[in-house]
């Protein structure tokens, strides 16, 4: 990839990334935290002048995000942010391109673009604000709402199954998959930082509280009393331990995960599954992603997987260079006069 961005001393602060627009989310909305963590992290991870950052979004509450960032921004149409962002990146590979999207935006109307961006490994950072509801259209269920969810369009409870976003991204072979929570600022910052450093499609699912239409959807994961027993923080190279007193662990028995008690003396830390972010085998990542759907298992947050492969943009520009080398720089006159030409005198 052509990486000829002029290197200049860049010292940004969070403030440099705040635009002059008034932020208009509902008071108490989880989106505020996400915005703050992005603005806090950017001075650390932005390795190029600020004018080379672009935020692209679709439609939804979360998709107002670009207005609040003092970078280049594009508020698109519903579901199409990954495609618009792809065009931006391919037009100018020196840009750092970020997508802000909601669960409805990215997985419902935009599902097709999302999986294809992952498949092609386009160098985009996709932040999906998951509140398991449609916020902007005032409270209909979304493709991540749990089965049986009562909303305005499902007064008797929804009958469809939700998407499992990390699993979907994995199925599309995304090269970076992570999850975090709006109410876990330090963790969220770390995920944003890591996504920013990744080359290729980086997908972060961020649990986000919509206090108006789906308040408390993640309270088990965010409230003091319950969170330790329900959240598993994945740390590379570390055994999977959780619980208030670090008393529970995950053991992998063949391909079957088990929650084990570390207090009975039967199992110790050494018996536990040690997390490997860089595991190229998707099977274990899939097991992790399925925890959410297995009763008694904690919800993993952190980096599920990170692998390295050529990005689409790298491939595209590599090929252009190769063809130029082989055929020589394009010559319009030559192309116009190619083929079966004849003279009329």
């Amino acid at each position: 990839m052509a990486n000829n961005v002029e290197v200049k001393e860049i010292k940004y602060t969070a403030k440099d990334f705040a635009s002059d627009q008034e932020v208009r989310w509902c008071p108490g909305c989880g989106d505020y935290s996400i915005l703050a963590q992005v603005q806090r992290t950017f001075p650390e991870i932005i390795d190029r002048p600020k004018e080379n950052i672009v935020w692209v979004s679709g439609i939804g509450c979360s998709s107002r995000f670009p207005y609040y960032m003092n970078t280049y921004g594009f508020h698109g149409i519903h579901g199409r942010a990954p495609a618009i962002a792809t065009g931006v990146k391919l037009a100018n590979p020196n840009l750092s391109v970020w997508v802000a999207s909601g669960d409805g935006d990215l997985l419902s109307i935009g599902g097709n673009h999302f999986i294809h961006a992952c498949r092609k490994n386009i160098d985009l950072k996709i932040l999906m604000f998951n509140n398991r509801i449609y916020g902007l259209t005032k409270g209909q269920y979304s493709p991540t709402s749990e089965k049986g969810k009562v909303t305005k369009t499902t007064p008797y409870g929804s009958v469809d199954y939700p998407f499992n976003p990390p699993m979907l991204a994995l199925g599309a072979e995304a090269s970076f998959i992570a999850r975090s929570i709006d109410r876990h600022p330090k963790h969220l910052q770390e995920m944003i930082r890591r996504a920013g450093l990744h080359k290729g499609t980086a997908f972060i699912e961020i649990f986000q509280n919509c206090n108006i239409f789906n308040d408390g959807a993640f309270s088990l994961l965010t409230e003091k009393e319950t969170k330790d027993d329900h959240v598993l923080e994945l740390v590379h190279g570390q055994p999977m331990i959780f619980g208030k007193n670090k008393d529970k662990g995950i053991k992998l028995d063949g391909m079957t995960p088990m929650v084990v008690d570390l207090t009975t003396g039967k199992y110790s830390k050494d018996d536990l599954w040690v997390h490997d972010e860089f595991d190229p085998n998707p099977a274990r990542t899939a097991i992790l992603a399925m925890f959410d759907e297995t009763p008694g298992f904690p919800t993993p947050i952190g980096i599920f997987r990170q692998i390295t492969k050529e990005t689409y943009d790298e491939g595209l520009f590599r090929q252009i260079e190769e063809v130029k080398k082989k055929k020589g720089e394009g010559d319009l006159e030559k192309i116009l006069f190619s083929g079966n030409v004849w003279e009329v005198n």
């Binding site: 635009s19 627009q21 002048p49 600020k50 004018e51 080379n52 950052i53 672009v54 935020w55 692209v56 979004s57 439609i59 670009p66 207005y67 003092n70 970078t71 280049y72 921004g73 594009f74 508020h75 698109g76 149409i77 199409r80 495609a83 618009i84 962002a85 792809t86 065009g87 931006v88 990146k89 391919l90 037009a91 100018n92 020196n94 840009l95 097709n112 673009h113 294809h116 595209l316 090929q319 252009i320 063809v323 130029k324 082989k326 055929k327 020589g328 720089e329 394009g330 319009l332 006159e333 192309i335 116009l336 006069f337 083929g339 079966n340 030409v341 004849w342 003279e343 009329v344 005198n345």
Partner: protein
């Protein structure tokens, strides 16, 4: 050679030939090769490939018939010809399907080997037309093409199936002899095409030569025909199809604007060739993105335009329908973008391989809200090149989406093209905004265009999107008066482009009784019809739209200079509707929606009818 002298060489002014056979018979290839050679010997020509939507329909069936018609002449011509003079029918189905179109008394050359019971049944013939007298009145030549090809290829290491496939080259060779064209072009082509496969080279070349020699040796034909080169303007020529010209036009626009070309597209007949051609220009830095669907095709292009590329998206009718919402976004964000619609038969999936002109209203009006875009339409295959450059020029200068309409007929059809030199093509000026002083994203220049400030430009960070923008500042705005103002400004910007496009030209008398008005790919048929009517003494003129939104500035004045207006279209009156509503002028319509180009003779009849037979006096 002795035999040659015995056969008379008859001079013709023009000929229309239709090659027809099973979809597996290689008729498109035969037609293309005949066209290439015919162009090369200097005739003017025009072609109409006509193939089924099925890739390989069951052999021998009527719906599996593939045809290629070409019209060539020693004079200037504009259509693929209404009715063929010569029909080459490789099997009974091809004969059955095409006979009704053949001119009375026309020439039929059949592969007599294929007229067996099985094929006759498949074509629903009750008796053999070669024997039952039903072809009386035509000049029928029965040539056992299959067995002659097999004889000629004896000893070549090819399977029986491959031998049988070479029969199209035999037919081509025979037609080259009959119409006095050289075979060298095709021989060269065979050698290039099958460079890796010496058996194919030998087989096909032998078949071609055998066909040619058969013409010379057989007693069947008593005459050969020749069509003298046309008097085309001096220059270097090539034969070009509309899709190829479109691709080249955008390549030229990219070079002339200095902007990298980005195409986001999803394959659809008959537009796919555009992305295929552009994909081969990688060494120009052209970026072709085969998207997951047409919405991604256009939205990637919008992203690329935002980031400073010359961005285009190509499609056909159903794809244009899918792109609708995104076109609105491009209108709102005021970014340059070109949407190419190679129209085909509709509605819905319609007639995917056939031509039509029925997306005009979709192009002009088909969006939510007040969303004006520029609409231009190419008139002939080679005009696609000019209009691609024009569309790019307008999109960039006015920061607006432009829809370029072509259609299946001109996209696939070809004609000789006098090639312009790269340095004769005008530069397309581009000004990216770089100065910070006084920058606002929706400040407008003298053309009402907003600044193109691309990501990567220091200190011009700004945000755009589909929500209504405040005038000048570009912040999201729900202010009622601002919305009215912006709606009006966007409309005015497009309307003003009328000052920057050529006036509507009238071919023929500048005023009078009847003006025949068309747009897009019907140019040739209308022109030929008007010429024919004039030759018969009728006073009739022609005007043709290549710019439709906005219309050329003098449109109303031109239309009002004639007592009657006739608008032939391959739809149910879409241009007619626009003209009537825009200018409150009464028009007469002529609409035939058969998935085929309009027939010259039908338009001539219509002209005469409209004039009430009084020669326009």
């Amino acid at each position: 050679m002795e035999t040659d002298k015995e056969k008379e060489l008859l001079q013709l002014k023009e000929v229309t030939i239709r090659f027809a056979g099973d979809s597996g018979d290689g008729m498109q290839l035969t037609g293309t090769q005949f066209s290439e050679t015919t162009a090369w010997v200097g005739n003017d020509l025009n072609t109409l490939p006509d193939y089924p939507a099925e890739i390989r329909a069951p052999a021998g069936t009527i719906y599996g018939v593939s045809g290629f018609q070409l019209h060539f002449s020693s004079e200037d011509i504009h259509t693929p010809g209404d009715q063929p003079d010569v029909l080459v029918a490789m099997n009974p189905a091809a004969l059955k399907k095409n006979l009704p179109e053949l001119k009375k008394g026309g020439m039929i050359i059949v592969n007599s080997d294929s007229f067996d019971i099985k094929n006759l049944n498949l074509a629903h013939y009750e008796s053999n037309p070669l024997e039952d007298g039903s072809l009386d009145g035509y000049q029928v030549y029965q040539v056992p093409i299959s067995s002659l090809t097999a004889n000629a290829l004896e000893g070549v290491k090819l399977s029986p199936k491959e031998v049988s496939r070479a029969k199209n080259f035999f037919a081509l060779g025979l037609m080259y002899w009959l119409f006095n064209r050289p075979i060298d072009n095709t021989v060269k082509w065979i050698h290039e095409k099958f460079a890796k496969n010496p058996e194919y080279i030998e087989g096909n070349e032998r078949a071609l030569r055998a066909g040619y020699n058969y013409g010379e040796m057989t007693e069947l034909f008593t005459a050969r025909y020749t069509v003298e080169p046309a008097k085309l303007p001096k220059g270097t020529y090539r034969s070009i199809s509309g899709n190829e010209a479109t691709a080249l036009g955008f390549l030229a626009a990219s070079v002339k604007s200095g902007l990298p070309l980005f195409l986001g597209s999803y394959p659809i007949t008959p537009a796919s060739e555009i992305i295929q051609y552009l994909s081969t220009y990688k060494n120009f830095g052209v970026k072709t993105f085969q998207a997951e669907d047409e919405i991604a095709g256009i939205t990637t292009a919008i992203g690329a335009s935002f980031a400073g590329n010359l961005a285009i998206t190509s499609t056909s009718g159903p794809g244009l329908a899918l792109k609708t919402e995104a076109i609105g976004l491009a209108v709102m964000t005021e970014l340059p973008l070109i949407i190419i619609d190679v129209q085909r038969g509709g509605p819905s999936t319609g007639l995917p391989t056939k031509t039509e002109q029925a997306d005009l209203l979709q192009a002009v009006c088909g969006r939510n809200g007040e969303a004006p875009v520029v609409v231009v339409a190419a008139a002939t295959p080679s005009d696609c090149f000019n209009m691609a450059i024009e569309a790019s020029r307008i999109a960039i200068k006015y920061m607006t989406p432009v829809i370029l309409l072509t259609d299946g007929y001109i996209a696939n059809g070809s004609e000789p093209w006098k090639i312009p030199h790269a340095n004769e093509l005008p530069d397309i000026p581009v000004k990216f905004r770089t100065e910070k002083e006084g920058f606002y994203p929706y400040l407008r220049d003298e053309n009402l265009a907003r600044p193109w400030a691309i990501p990567g430009t220091p200190e011009l960070e700004h945000r755009i999107g589909g929500l209504e923008k405040s005038d000048i500042y570009g912040n999201v705005s729900y202010d009622p008066d601002n919305h009215h103002k912006m709606v009006t400004l966007r409309a005015k910007k497009i309307k003003n482009i009328e000052n920057d496009i050529p006036l509507l030209e009238v071919e023929g008398e500048q005023s009078g009784e009847l003006l025949v008005v068309g747009w897009g790919g019907t140019y040739g048929a209308i022109k030929e019809a008007v010429n024919k009517a004039r030759a018969q003494g009728y006073k009739v003129s022609q005007a043709h739209f290549r710019y439709i939104n906005p219309f050329p500035k003098n449109t109303e004045q031109v239309l009002r200079s004639f007592n009657k207006i006739l608008i032939p279209e391959i739809n149910l009156g879409q241009l007619a509707r626009l003209i009537k509503s825009e200018f409150l002028i009464d028009v007469q319509q002529f609409n035939v929606v058969r998935g085929l180009p309009l027939r010259v003779a039908d338009i001539v009849d219509q002209i005469i009818k409209t004039l009430g037979g009084n020669n326009g006096k």
